[in-house]
């Protein structure tokens, strides 16, 4: 690994942590996942093609490690996120509004954690990381059509969970595309 790749990897850490947090819903598990992904990436850096996106490659490594861990029973695959409420409070916001926002965001995070793993990773890559459908398909090694179907099921399920009257009670179903 050359120095520039090293620096790029370090610069990616916040985003890797965000993706991992969205996947696992737990700070500790997320950082363990980031650590494992970095170790694997360093070990296999020869497989990365310079000139292609390092972030997509590392997201893919992380996603694979995460799915493996779930399959091996090392992770539950679902967590209720614990987030410091203070960090959610925008300055100058009155208390009531801040509380509502916090509750909404908390509900969204809980909803994301209820999604099936396959839908969750697609949702996070597209909606949080801002990747295109095509980039997401390449990162995850799945067809674009599968990205679309997983994403729409995730989004509609999330809308029901967060916005619907039975918010919090609905578990997201979902088979595979």
């Amino acid at each position: 690994m050359d120095k520039r790749t090293k620096a790029e990897m370090i610069a990616l850490l916040p985003r890797l942590r965000r993706f991992a947090r969205g996947l696992t819903g737990s700070e500790e598990e997320a950082d363990d996942l980031v650590q494992a992904a970095c170790e694997r990436a360093i070990q296999r850096i020869g497989q990365w093609q310079p000139g292609t996106r390092l972030d997509s490659w590392m997201f893919r490594i992380m996603q694979n490690l995460w799915i493996d861990a779930i399959r091996m029973g090392k992770l539950r695959g679902s967590h209720l996120s614990v987030v410091d409420p203070e960090s959610q409070q925008a300055p100058g916001m009155d208390g009531e509004q801040a509380t509502m926002n916090r509750l909404t965001l908390e509900a969204v995070r809980r909803g994301v954690q209820r999604l099936p793993p396959d839908q969750r990773s697609v949702l996070l890559l597209v909606c949080v990381e801002g990747h295109s459908y095509k980039e997401t398909a390449e990162t995850l090694g799945i067809p674009v059509g599968t990205v679309m179907s997983r994403l729409s099921r995730a989004r509609l399920a999330l809308n029901r969970m967060v916005g619907g009257p039975d918010s919090g009670a609905v578990a997201a179903g979902g088979g595979e595309a």
Binding site: M1, K6, I10, L13, Y133, M148, R155, L158, V162
Partner: protein
């Protein structure tokens, strides 16, 4: 709402539809209140999902993660630092008198016939990576290469910065680091030196090793010097010439000249 499937609506909300399909969705949205409602929720939820995870970006990254990447071994492969072989060959194959004359023809040949052979700034990784101190920035110039005879840069004299360059380049600490770097360091591993007597410092980085046809080992190297004059060579090739007691002798040194688009990566 029934005419279009959920995938299409979601893709429209994400701006992923082509013009034709998007027009279909827009036609539906104008006439169907339920579709508009769903679209609004889809867009809101996308922002919410993003907002719900944004705080992680502002957290301090745990040291254990930084340490892992920090400790990763650096590759010996020269990567982007490789001196194009044909340039090296041109230097080495040039008759001695041409080199003695300051290689003007070589400069012309490189610039006229091989415009693509310049080493782009973005590839000059190892230098950029360790040149964290601002004083090193002065040496980080240019995308274009211009070859200039080592001794001619030293002998022109007269101007202050050139006089300073002479002394800096003759610095015994620098020379010791130079020999050490070429003899003992793998490619891209820097020897950083500092002369406590005059405060000068710098680094020598071998970037590529090869064997000349006669079997002599040669290495391309880069140098960084604090307070370097703009015309001070920062790049070159040295060979462990027979009959020099194992010392590395500079075959040629060159200046990376200022060029368009030059930009520090770090």
């Amino acid at each position: 709402m029934k005419q279009l499937d959920a995938n299409t609506l979601v893709a429209y909300a994400d701006g992923e539809l082509d013009t034709e399909s998007a027009a279909l969705v827009e036609a539906l949205l104008t006439e169907d209140a339920e579709a508009r409602d769903v679209m609004g929720k889809l867009r809101d939820s996308a922002s919410l999902i993003r907002a719900a995870h944004g705080h992680v970006l502002h957290e301090a990254v745990p040291d254990r993660l930084l340490d892992i990447i920090d400790a990763a071994p650096l590759s010996d492969e020269a990567g982007g630092e490789v001196v194009p072989r044909h340039i090296v060959n041109m230097i080495l194959d040039a008759p001695d008198d041409e080199i003695e004359a300051g290689v003007p023809s070589l400069v012309g040949a490189v610039q006229k016939t091989e415009p693509a052979s310049v080493i782009p700034m973005g590839r000059r990784r190892s230098i950029a990576a360790f040149a964290t101190a601002a004083v090193f920035a002065a040496a980080m110039v240019g995308g274009g290469m211009m070859f200039e005879k080592y001794s001619s840069a030293l002998n022109q004299g007269g101007m202050t910065h050139q006089a300073r360059a002479v002394t800096a380049m003759n610095d015994p600490w620098r020379e010791a680091a130079f020999q050490e770097a070429l003899e003992t360091r793998k490619s891209e591993a820097a020897v950083i030196w500092a002369n406590p007597e005059n405060g000068r410092s710098g680094a020598i980085v071998p970037v590529k090793t090869y064997r000349r046809d006669d079997g002599t080992f040669c290495r391309a190297f880069r140098t960084v010097d604090t307070g370097a004059a703009p015309d001070q060579p920062n790049y070159g090739v040295a060979c462990r010439e027979p009959g020099e007691e194992g010392r590395w002798i500079r075959t040629v040194e060159a200046i990376a000249a200022p060029g368009a688009g030059a930009k520090l990566q770090f």
